[in-house]
């Protein structure tokens, strides 16, 4: 409760500061709208459904691309950790591509797939995949070899060892890799939505883009706020429970 109050007070303070700066008329209200106009835009956009629709479209794209990236990335990471030849080939590729900012995939996706959902999907997958591969690879490599030895003496081998020992032992790394993958997926999708204008679905990125086209700063700022809130919620809902579980089991963080 105390933590909640201090957080609430902090953000209320930020809004007040914002309002005060606007009232000082340092900048044109076209460039810096007041919190009130942004709030009005958000309320209006919620009422007429544009905001929820856009969020739903965006989240659907994000989830599909993200899940696909994980499903593909986990086994690839296991392969690079297990086989030297995969490490020297696939591992190097993953390392290289991970350093490529995901927005750099957008031009290529546009030419390959046109202004389509496939282009979006491709960009999100590319944003997610490589960091998941690298996190899984790192995770498996940092497992103390004693676990696999102990498991072998108890009769575990082959697939059983991988599923029951290596994967859970690498879980802390995999979860942080998934979290990083999520962050990358989120960034790349926003970049894709801003660049790729398509008719099959109007996402948050598009809303942001049209806010700029229309010079509607309250829309730009309002949508940015929504993007931040969704990012925060995803962290709290999707990853915090896992992390709490891991910390409790592994005893890696204060109570």
């Amino acid at each position: 409760m105390k933590r909640f109050l201090s957080a609430a007070a902090f953000f209320a303070g930020l809004v007040v500061l914002w309002e005060v700066l606007v009232r000082l008329h340092l900048w044109s209200p076209v460039l810096v709208p007041s919190p009130l106009t942004v709030g009005q835009y958000l309320l209006g956009a919620i009422e007429d459904g544009t905001l929820l629709d856009a969020s739903a479209v965006t989240l659907k794209r994000l989830l599909f691309g993200y899940l696909f990236g994980i499903v593909l990335g986990l086994p690839l990471g296991l392969l690079t950790a297990r086989f030297k030849v995969c490490q020297d080939t696939l591992g190097l590729l993953a390392l290289g591509l991970q350093t490529l900012p995901s927005v750099c995939w957008v031009p290529l996706a546009l030419i390959w797939f046109g202004q389509s959902e496939s282009a979006m999907f491709f960009v999100v997958v590319m944003g997610t995949l490589w960091s998941v591969v690298i996190a899984t690879d790192n995770g498996v490599r940092s497992i103390p070899p004693i676990y696999a030895r102990a498991a072998r003496t108890m009769g575990s081998k082959g697939l059983h060892t991988w599923v029951k020992v290596m994967l859970p032992a690498a879980l802390p790394f995999i979860v942080s890799g998934m979290k990083q993958g999520w962050a990358f997926a989120w960034r790349s999708l926003m970049a894709a939505e801003i660049y790729v204008t398509i008719l099959t679905g109007f996402g948050l990125g598009h809303l942001l883009h049209y806010g700029r086209e229309l010079n509607a700063m309250e829309q730009v700022i309002g949508v940015m706020l929504v993007i931040v809130v969704i990012g925060l919620l995803a962290d709290k809902v999707m990853f915090s429970p896992w992390e709490r579980f891991l910390h409790r089991r592994w005893g890696t963080q204060g109570k």
Binding site: P144, I146, Y147, R149, A150, A151, R152, T153, M154, G155, S156, H160, K164, V165, P168, A169, L171, R248, R249, W250, G251
Partner: protein, 269 residues
């Protein structure tokens, strides 16, 4: 199979190590870890392998466990050649090697689940039996990191005993514990050895520990790893590590050990 028959004592194995050699090669040098080592262990015997680090005693234990393979020589367990790890030979390592993603109970169940012929409720009953045996029945659902070092090794012992092996291989399992905890565990391991009728091979570099636990102390000398001398320990059990007779025998073995080393290396007493 019922829980009763599962928990019944199995006959301990006899083990025969014949002329086993093992070399480790790296770019810089070649280490002859074991040089034609032969050793016979009787059913239910408690044998301590004693020597300074690098004398090959842990290598021999790993080969018996089936985790490593010998370059040459024979290894027979009850007359049958050993190839790879098996449930009849369980290992307890210096690090507890418990799985941190499982609680105490699930750690015990890990090996039991790989053992066919039992239902899950029977497996849990078996696991509880061994938790009671090491005095940790109240900690069935504790996380591993919540246990003290001594408790972790007790759980590791219970986990190694749970599949009812015929041989227990212990690789300096108490080396990382404080003296007081270690003394308690000496008592426990002697009691459990007598109750559960196991053949135990125990690796240590601590002379007193070896004398306190073993029916026989096998002295190794390094470079290359060979058996230098063997001592039979006929002191009555349960033995107390602080007893005078035990200390006298330890001194004698320490002297022998120093003799084999040519006084170059430190040995803990």
């Amino acid at each position: 199979m019922t829980v009763q028959t599962e928990l019944a004592n199995v006959t301990p194995s006899k083990l025969s190590v014949g002329e086993i050699s093992k070399r480790f090669e790296s770019k810089r040098r070649v280490v002859q870890a074991l040089d034609r080592v032969s050793l016979d262990v009787a059913e239910g015997e408690f044998v301590c392998l004693l020597g300074p680090s690098g004398c090959g005693k842990s290598t021999l234990l790993n080969i018996i466990a089936g985790l490593d393979s010998a370059d040459s020589g024979t290894l027979l367990c009850d007359g049958k050649p050993v190839s790879g790890p098996g449930r009849d030979r369980m290992v307890m390592f210096q690090e507890h090697a418990l799985f941190p993603w499982l609680d105490v109970m699930d750690n015990l169940l890990f090996g039991l689940k790989l053992k066919p012929g039992l239902s899950n409720t029977e497996r849990e009953e078996v696991a509880r039996f061994y938790l009671r045996l090491v005095g940790l029945e109240k900690f069935a659902h504790a996380n591993i990191h919540e246990l003290s070092g001594g408790m972790k090794q007790r759980v590791a012992l219970a986990r190694a005993l749970a599949p009812n092996p015929r041989i227990l291989l212990m690789d300096e399992p108490f080396a990382a514990l404080d003296a007081l905890t270690r003394e308690q565990l000496y008592g426990d391991i002697q009691r459990i050895w007598q109750e559960r009728k196991k053949t135990i091979i125990f690796v240590t570099h601590n002379v007193r520990e070896a004398v306190c636990l073993g029916d026989r102390v096998v002295l190794f000398s390094p470079h290359p790893g060979r058996i230098a001398e063997q001592f039979r320990v006929d002191l009555p059990r349960p033995r107390d590590i602080n007893s005078v007779t035990l200390a006298q025998l330890s001194t004698q073995i320490t002297k022998a050990l120093k003799g084999h080393l040519g006084g170059q290396e430190e040995v803990g007493e």
